[in-house]
């Protein structure tokens, strides 16, 4: 869908194999405290449940595994 805010980066979310969730492109990102960051993003979010630095991935999945 075209709109006025279209940029070269199409916003996308990727479930990475054996890894985190990747949020890429123009997004409004709101963390659990309500803090909003708007703009081009490249964020790696934990989806194995084991990161010690949530919501970010800290590669704990390499130790405990992540289901697909």
């Amino acid at each position: 869908m075209e709109d006025n805010t279209a940029t070269n980066t199409n916003p996308e979310v990727r479930i990475l194999k054996n890894g985190p969730i990747l949020i890429k492109g123009l997004f409004s990102f709101k963390d659990s405290s309500g803090q909003i960051t708007t703009g081009e993003q490249e964020l790696y979010l934990c989806r194995c449940g084991g990161s010690k630095n949530k919501p970010w991935c800290d590669e704990t999945h390499k130790t405990i595994g992540v289901p697909d």
């Binding site: 979310v13 969730i21 409004s28 405290s33 919501p55 992540v66």
Partner: protein, 147 residues
Amino acid sequence: MDKTDRNYTNGEITVFWQPKKCIHATTCYRELIDVFNPRKRPWVNMEGASTEEIIKVVKLCPTQALSFTYNSEVESEEASKVNSPEAMPEARVMTDGPLVLRGSFTLYDTDGREMKSMKITSLCRCGNSNDLPYCDGRHRKIGYTGK
């Protein structure tokens, strides 16, 4: 709270079902079979429609066997935005819950294939969903905690 009571969430709202109040008026599944399907288990699929559509049908329940609540108070003001898709997609991390995505973006699976995304898509963060990569509410059962 009766032990037969059930709740279902999409990360944004939680729908409660109290079977003892249900008179099988069939309103919910005539209105929104993608969410309320008595032939399926669980019979409520919170990914089947937008939060707004789910709320609309829950409110039609004649006996209030179905009810709902916003998962956090902030959500009530958020929900009013659901109607007008914003220019920029939004990703929101729910405390102790899923990643809630809304707006226009493309979702890819682990093999790089495009996946279905709803107006609101909740992705599992706890790693225990039975419907990966989507959230199925299991984070509550396992007591997942995460900022």
